[in-house]
């Protein structure tokens, strides 16, 4: 649905990473982890297109004025990379934003008897927090968070507060292990006794590595993709990703904004 949202807060949580809380209508309170929103940065023509972001968190707050009736809010966690996100970071409490939400297909929560392994790279953590919040209700959850430097490892405390066991890895070794987060994931998988399921979001290279690990070990794995989007509602066909059986002769494209952004990794095409 389309609605106008009031910004409740917008704070820099790590250099270049911002967390924005904004009001949402009741229909959004039941958004699934992994669903996303499309934000119109401003009403002018620059930037022209909406920007897609994951839903970092959902909750309710009690506004001072409305007589103590609690209202839903949603949060996004975003990284300033270009024009649109730079403008978002200049917005303040009480500014208005035009949103489409919730969009797309979120994560499948699956059954309780598996250990849930969440893998996030940089701002890829954004949609995984809401997921973790749901998963901890039934399952043991571990988080593998990777980034280039310590500044790219976000909101670990929040995950820990949920009771999630967190492993971190940075490419420069400034926080946690030095190296790729997939190494920590592999070690955990080696130790693992029972069933497990993987959930991943992050740079495409990381997702590719995770998907290959999952395929080799035959572990169910869901990934959340990014894709350049114009509409977010399945109309422009801009956001597609190659499906499992895709080749230039027998093309098989999946629509990220409506069939995804979350896919079973086996549905998609990966490099070996």
């Amino acid at each position: 649905m389309q609605f106008t949202s009031l910004i409740l807060s917008n704070v820099e949580v790590s250099p270049g990473y911002w967390r924005m809380r904004m009001t949402a209508p009741p229909e959004c309170a039941s958004a699934h982890p992994g669903q996303f929103i499309m934000v119109r940065v401003n009403g002018a023509i620059d930037p022209l297109l909406r920007r897609p972001f994951g839903i970092f968190d959902l909750g309710t707050y009690t506004p001072a004025q409305s007589g103590g009736v609690s209202q839903p809010y949603l949060e996004m966690l975003y990284r300033v990379v270009g024009k649109g996100t730079a403008m978002l970071s200049t917005l303040h409490e009480n500014d208005l934003l035009d949103l489409l939400a919730p969009l797309g297909k979120g994560f499948e929560l699956r059954t309780a008897d598996e250990e849930k392994l969440i893998v996030g790279g940089g701002v890829g953590l954004a949609p995984l927090y809401l997921l973790a919040k749901e998963l901890v209700k039934n399952s043991k959850v571990r988080l593998f968070a990777g980034g280039r430097t310590r500044d790219d490892i976000l909101c670990i405390t929040e995950f820990e507060r949920l009771g999630v066991e967190c492993y971190t890895a940075t490419e420069d070794g400034s926080l946690g292990e030095c190296g790729l987060v997939t190494e920590a994931l592999l070690r955990r998988l080696d130790q693992l006794q029972g069933k497990a399921a993987i959930y991943a979001c992050g740079p495409h290279g990381m997702l590719n590595a995770v998907a290959n690990i999952a395929a080799t070990r035959n572990i169910p794995c869901q990934v959340s993709l990014e894709g350049y989007m114009a509409c977010g509602v399945g109309a422009c066909l801009g956001c597609v990703a190659p499906g499992h059986s895709h080749s230039s002769e027998t093309p098989d494209f999946r629509c990220v904004c409506t069939e995804g952004p979350v896919f079973e990794s086996g549905e998609l095409k990966w490099r070996d």
Binding site: L48, V233, C236, L237
Partner: protein, 308 residues
């Protein structure tokens, strides 16, 4: 102050009565269904399907979309479900909506165009056909049909013979003289002209030293192109007798009304639906409000009413 009378918003497009002049542009409104949540489909004049072809087409590799100053480029590559799946999967929805659905289509050869026209002719739910001639002619070295008056005329003649439904020809702006193209299509039997399709553009990623789009070039749309579209609609409207559908960067009711002054009988909303999925309905409503506020009783009185 006098009470504002409800203006007459109806127009007649080559025999199809429209409740108002606002249509949606091919490729920007899916097959209609995708927008049902955001637009009351019975609040707009007509909608146009994604471009259809005989066989399903998978389209281009990604990235397919890039934003540019005031516009966007797309290189979707005419991805579509193909005529068979259109009939089996999309037409039932069209039946449920009391708004004319117009099928946009293309082919790689003149024969394919004609075959598409005759296939679409059989579908009662299709109110009219819109021919996308901005496609390369695979039999003639890939020259785009829509950039050569003879090729365009041949396509139109062949389609004309294959259907009795109103035939709209959608003109490409990538030409030296759009009037020449318009006249060629008029002579060949078109019932209406729609313009403009996208301009050809390109974007480069400096740091990667690569084109942004996997296809290198793409179709340029959005508010940035409006001045070109408006100029072409005005030129063509003066030169032909056919009704014209104005397209190109229409974001709001003011833009839409400007196209009507330039000579358009109806308009299509394209890129705007990506930014605001409710754009088409909002534009129709705001046009009506503008007419009422300005004491214009009939939207038809604006068509070509520009004073030059």
């Amino acid at each position: 102050m006098t009470t504002l009378a409800k203006p007459d918003m109806t127009v007649n497009l080559a025999g199809i009565p429209l409740r108002n002049p606002v249509m949606t542009a091919s490729g920007t409104f899916g097959y209609g269904e995708e927008f049902a949540e955001y637009v009351d489909l019975e609040s707009i004049g007509a909608f146009v399907t994604k471009g259809l072809s005989l066989k399903a087409r998978a389209g281009n590799p990604t990235p397919r979309i890039v934003e540019t100053p005031g516009g966007m480029l797309n290189a979707i590559g005419l991805q579509n479900v193909g005529i068979d799946a259109f009939i089996s999967k999309k037409v039932p929805f069209l039946r449920s909506v009391n708004t004319p659905a117009i099928a946009n289509f293309f082919g790689n050869t003149i024969d394919e165009y004609a075959e598409m026209a005759s296939r679409l002719d059989e579908i009662p739910e299709v109110a009219a056909l819109e021919i996308n001639i901005s496609c390369p002619n695979v039999k003639h070295g890939g020259i785009v049909f829509g950039t050569d008056p003879d090729s365009a005329a041949s396509v139109v003649t062949a389609c004309r013979a294959a259907t009795k439904k109103p035939l709209i020809v959608k003109l490409s702006p990538n030409v030296t003289d759009v009037v020449v193209m318009a006249k060629a299509c008029e002579t060949a039997g078109a019932d209406a002209l729609s313009l403009i399709n996208t301009l050809t553009g390109m974007a480069i990623d400096l740091n990667r030293r690569k084109p942004v789009l996997a296809n290198v070039t793409g179709g340029f749309s959005g508010p940035a192109i409006k001045p070109i579209a408006l100029r072409m609609v005005w030129q063509v409207a003066k030169a032909v007798k056919l009704p014209i559908i104005g397209i190109g960067g229409i974001m709001n009711a003011t833009d839409a009304l400007e196209f009507m002054l330039a000579g358009a009988t109806a308009i299509q909303v394209g890129t705007a639906s990506f930014i605001n999925p409710g754009a088409a309905q909002k534009i129709a409503e705001d046009m009506e409000a503008w007419l009422a506020a300005n004491g214009v009783a009939d939207v038809k009185s604006l068509i070509g009413a520009l004073e030059t």
